[in-house]
Amino acid sequence: MKRSLQVILPPIVLFAIVIAAWHFAVIGWEIKPYLVPKPMRVWETTIANWRELLGAFGLTAAAASCGFLASLLIGTVIACVFSQSSLIRRSCYPYAIFWQTVPIVAIAPLIVVWFGTGFHSVVLVAFLISLFPIITNGTNGMIAIDSDLLDLFGLYRATRWQVLWKLRLPHSVPFLVTGARTSSGLSVVGAIVGEFFAGNLTGRYGLGYVIYQAQSQVKTDRLFAGMIFSAVLGLAIFGLSTVIGSTVLNRWSDPTGSETSRR
């Protein structure tokens, strides 16, 4: 009890200090509300619009999740293909790296031109930004295999398919978990950036559109509310993927998932 208090208390105190400093800074320096609204104003806007914001949160979460899951699936398949030949890797890797260095903000408008606005385009942006970590981590996990293990499979005349299915793919699981953790955070960035450009749907919109709209109408309190919800979404998805990832890892190398308690 005392220990958990020691963990929880300091960040709460810091939070209170920051909010108080924000409040008094706005009053003291007479900062205009359209630049920095008072914390209380942000809170009121959030409460007043909670239903709308929660709907936007849900839509962005759905877009990020769809994009992330698609990147996990397709990225793993691409990693499987890459693992099959160094010629394929050598041909494709420069482009994969090039792909990573192109800022997603630069691609999003093109996606709108090609696929129009709407949920599917937002998902596509989230997918594209989360794809790369899955491909690199997955490929590493599939090729960084001890040569003795490959010899073992070779000795028993394993087919290429058996090596992939029974050795490379399970071997890459911890690598994919690491990649997925990075990708899950990126998928939220992708979804919100996607919504800046492609999220203006009739009636339904996500957090990116809320932020974009608030910015153009100089409703800074609303902008802050959108930012807070985005931060919560990023945190939630990252936390969820970390929990799922460590569960998967535990099951991967321990059947009971409770090795420590058995010792």
Partner: protein, 257 residues
């Protein structure tokens, strides 16, 4: 017809075998080697002399760049060669049982046969049924090596190749596993080639000890071990045993110069 009889007994024969890597480095040179069926032979030599490379060539994992190497394991399918690696080389995502049955799974045997063979291999190697569901991470080094041995034996190999399997274990555990390996060999009668740099282990296990020179390795000496197939742990403290290990050590020192 006498030669035919000899041919029949022959298991591994190498004549002038050499191995040169793509880098131009010659690892093994002019190796002549004969291992008769049912024999357990040790191969000792300084580290880096190409013992493992030679073993891998016999396993068919590498092809010699020159010379002639024939391996006849006495059955129609040549897949009856098994290999025990220096590291236990177990798949961490599979439990003990699933690791042991892997070779049979890769061969596409029905599950019932895989299960029966894995269970008998498990008990042969002295593991309890309760160990079958454990993951490699939960096992000690000695236990992992046992599982690795059980996986090699599950195919009922005719030729068993062991590449310093007990090198990472402490001496007591090593001796214990040597005794068990010998017991299983007597029971099953496979042909074995055991690579090691531990002289006592080589003498205790085998009928012949082959000494390899420094790289590029070739076989420089052969020392016959006159003890019977059945060997008690006490053998290690006899004078004859000490004399033989002394002789092998002297050979090793000579080739090391």
């Amino acid at each position: 017809m006498a030669t035919d009889g000899d041919e029949y007994k022959l298991s591994v024969q190498a004549r002038g075998v050499a191995m040169q890597f793509a880098s131009g480095q010659t690892v093994v040179r002019d190796v002549d080697l004969t291992v008769r069926r049912g024999e357990l032979v040790s191969l000792v030599g300084p580290s880096g002399c190409g013992k493992s490379t030679l073993l891998r060539m016999i396993a068919g994992l590498l092809s010699p760049t020159s010379g002639k190497l024939s391996v006849s394991v006495g059955s129609t399918d040549d897949s009856r060669t098994a290999f025990v690696f220096q590291d236990s080389n177990l798949l961490p995502w599979r439990n003990v049982f699933d690791n042991i049955r892997l070779p049979l799974e890769l061969r596409g045997l029905p599950m019932s046969e895989q299960r029966a063979a894995a269970e008998s291999s498990l008990s042969l190697i002295g593991l309890k049924p309760a160990d079958a569901v454990k993951r490699p991470r939960m096992l000690s080094g000695g236990m992992r090596m046992r599982v690795s041995l059980a996986r090699a034996l599950v195919t009922r190999p005719a030729l068993l190749l062991l590449d310093e399997p007990f090198a990472a274990l402490d001496d007591l555990l090593r001796q214990q596993l040597n005794e068990e390996l010998l017991r299983i060999w007597r029971q099953q009668g496979w042909t074995g080639i055991f690579v090691t740099h531990n002289v006592a282990e080589a003498v205790f296990l085998s009928q012949r000890v082959l000494v390899m020179s420094q790289s590029p390795g070739r076989i420089m000496a052969e020392i016959a071990v006159p003890f019977g197939a059945s060997r008690e742990p006490e053998l290690r403290s006899t004078a004859e045993f000490a004399k033989l290990t002394g002789e092998v050590s002297r050979c090793l020192r000579e080739v090391g110069r």
